[in-house]
């Protein structure tokens, strides 16, 4: 169960330049670095709001995370204790980057009922978002493999197993 407070509500087409401006990307290879620059130009108060709550949830409209493939956008969000994003849709690159880093993305057809300060509880297995502040409940669909990948924080285990297969096969040929 993922629980948290809605501390940001955004509209449609929030892009990864909005989430983390380019000028910070090459300043560090440490993902924690990007925490301090999340939404620097688009919403400078974002980080402060995130500090007020134990666990943050971002609510957005359609196409959240469009634009550049910079994975630093996912780090910038996640490192600010954001446990989940709920939006109407996500472009593929951002979705995959989030999946690879265990930033949970939930898709709901309508996100307009959420308000700042709402306390939510998300059950990935049941596919439900419960708005405890408003007493409402929504269901979402998520393929089981994706659910597992989100929970495990990525697919590194699978990739390592694959690499080991490749290396073993190479060794057998030698």
């Amino acid at each position: 169960m993922i629980t948290g407070t809605v501390t940001s509500i955004f509209g449609d087409d929030i892009n990864t330049d909005d989430i983390i401006p380019a000028s910070y990307l090459q300043q560090s290879t440490d993902r924690r670095f990007f925490k301090d620059y999340a939404f620097e130009k688009y919403d400078p108060a974002f980080r402060q709001r995130c500090q007020q709550a134990e666990a943050n949830i971002i609510v957005a409209g359609a196409n959240f995370g469009c634009g550049s493939s910079r994975e630093q956008a996912v780090y910038a969000i996640k490192e600010n204790r954001v446990v989940c994003v709920i939006a109407r849709s996500y472009p593929d690159i951002f979705y995959r980057n989030a999946l690879n880093n265990g930033l949970v993305l939930i898709t709901l057809p309508d996100t307009s009922s959420f308000r700042l300060g709402d306390e939510l509880a998300i059950d990935l297995d049941a596919g439900t978002v419960e708005n405890r502040s408003q007493g409402t409940r929504f269901t979402f669909a998520m393929p089981p493999e994706e659910r597992e990948t989100f929970k495990q924080g990525g697919m590194i285990g699978r990739v390592r197993a694959h690499l080991e297969e490749i290396l073993a096969a190479r060794q057998a040929r030698r």
Binding site: D13, L25, T29, N63, S89, I93, I156, Q171
Partner: protein, 447 residues
């Protein structure tokens, strides 16, 4: 059952017929490239996550196939900060030890140089650590931008994981572009029509007789911006124009590719190229598109109904102009820009920056006297790199700047201050605007 190009390419690489919607748990790739933004963290991640496995088999960590991996420092070069210089040196050392091709700073932009050097061919599955990797689709390749983690996985195993074969939207182009109207105007028009999310989860396939009339430079401009309507990628079939381009250039075997006539598409969109006019995208998103003839109405609308990504524009004046980027700084783009500029001066209030997309383009433009036209007219010509498009050097914008750019994104703050206004347009429109100091129709310079 007929297949789209995407379905065909994936089918070949997995060794069985597949169709849209199918999930491929391990998709082999054929080319992989890194820039100076993602290269360093990807190398770090690769060594951290996989070195122990290589050691277990008595091996030093090696990429899946050094012939198929390319390192291209292009975003922040020549390095303007120590951290960037360190990153580039790390890439150099890693590449050298492993026999990976590493381009030099100033050789050009990733989405231009690999194509130019014959590394991209039809049927390739290309991954690049940059969303504009879709550019490579103009060569009949399936090309995706990926983040650090997926690129680092691919570096190790040569695979992309859990890939869902996307459906395609067919853009059926007919007619030919009128004078003063270019590939950039077409793709801006499509982005404006489809919207920022209009091609989401789908591949944009550009087809029809209208494509055949377009050069490779024009085709790459179109595929480059497919991602601005959230397409997974853009793609175009093999034809005589591509065959010609690849002749004496391709370093890998070339085989024709096209979708089957009875392939299934999510949708077909028809566009008559001859009906288009020059287009301008207003700040702050590429989908805020207007024909140049309706700029005044668009300005009025921006004041009347602003939104966070459609900001109020005061008037049509501009202070900065950029002819460059992976979208529009190839040879033909510079020829067009020079054609408009010849006999004129850059407006006294405008800073025009010209950055050829690659060293080869730079040299040819120099040899043919094209760079001289820009320099004599008062432009700043820089060595090849992403320049102000990346917003961190070579023309960063102030809060008062009003920039017209041939690049592909005008997001808030993309090129510097979040207060700056960025307009997107073709090389001809950008140069005409640089002459007049306001958003200008280039057609009067081209008759």
């Amino acid at each position: 059952m007929g297949q789209t190009m995407v379905e065909k390419i994936v089918s070949r690489h997995v060794g069985r017929p597949v169709y849209a919607g199918e999930k491929i748990s391990r998709l082999p790739i054929t080319k992989l490239f890194f820039n100076d933004v993602i290269g360093p963290p990807a190398i770090k991640g690769f060594l951290e996550n996989f070195s122990d496995l290589f050691a277990k088999y008595g091996l030093t960590p090696q990429v899946f196939d050094p012939q198929r991996v390319f390192f291209i420092p292009d975003h922040s070069v020549p390095a303007f900060a120590i951290a960037i210089a360190e990153g580039i040196k790390l890439m150099q050392a890693f590449a050298k030890e492993r026999g990976i091709a590493m381009y030099k700073e100033g050789d050009g932009i990733e989405h231009v140089v690999l194509i130019e050097d014959g590394h991209i061919v039809p049927w390739d599955i290309v991954l690049g650590t940059d969303s504009h990797t879709d550019t490579n689709g103009a060569l009949g390749a399936l090309a995706f931008g990926v983040g650090t983690t997926e690129a680092m996985y691919a570096m190790a195993t040569g695979h992309l994981y859990d890939f869902v074969v996307p459906e395609s939207i067919r853009f059926e182009l007919s007619g030919a572009l009128p004078t003063g109207v270019y590939a950039k105007d077409l793709i801006l028009y499509l982005i404006g029509t489809m919207g920022a999310g209009g091609c989401s989860k789908r591949v944009a396939e550009f087809t029809g007789e209208g494509v055949r009339s377009l050069s490779m430079d024009a085709r790459t401009t179109i595929c480059n911006m497919a991602v601005e309507m959230s397409a997974r990628t853009g793609i175009m079939a093999y034809d005589e124009v591509l065959a010609d381009y690849l002749k004496d250039r391709a370093r890998w075997p070339v085989e024709p590719i096209a979708s089957d006539p009875d392939a299934t598409y999510a949708r077909t969109v028809h566009v008559d190229l001859s009906a288009l006019e020059p287009m301008v995208a207003f700040p702050h998103k590429p989908a805020n598109v207007t024909p140049i003839s309706q700029v005044q109405e668009m300005i009025a609308r921006s004041q009347r109904e602003p939104t966070p990504d459609f900001c109020p524009v005061e008037d049509d004046t501009i202070t900065d102009a950029f002819l460059g980027s992976c979208t529009n700084a190839r040879y033909e783009d510079l020829v067009i820009g020079a054609q408009v500029l010849r006999g004129h001066k850059v407006h006294p209030d405008v800073n025009l920056i010209v950055i050829p997309a690659s060293r080869k383009v730079y040299e040819r433009a120099m040899d043919e006297g094209i760079l001289q036209v820009f320099i004599k007219a008062g432009a700043n010509v820089e060595s090849s790199n992403c320049g102000p498009c990346f917003g961190s050097h070579m023309g960063v914008l102030s809060s008062k700047s009003k920039m017209i750019s041939t690049s592909n994104r005008n997001y808030k703050g993309r090129m510097g201050s979040p207060e700056a206004r960025i307009f997107l347009a073709s090389p001809a429109t950008v140069v005409a605007s640089a002459i007049e100091g306001r958003l200008a129709d280039p057609r009067k310079y081209l008759t």
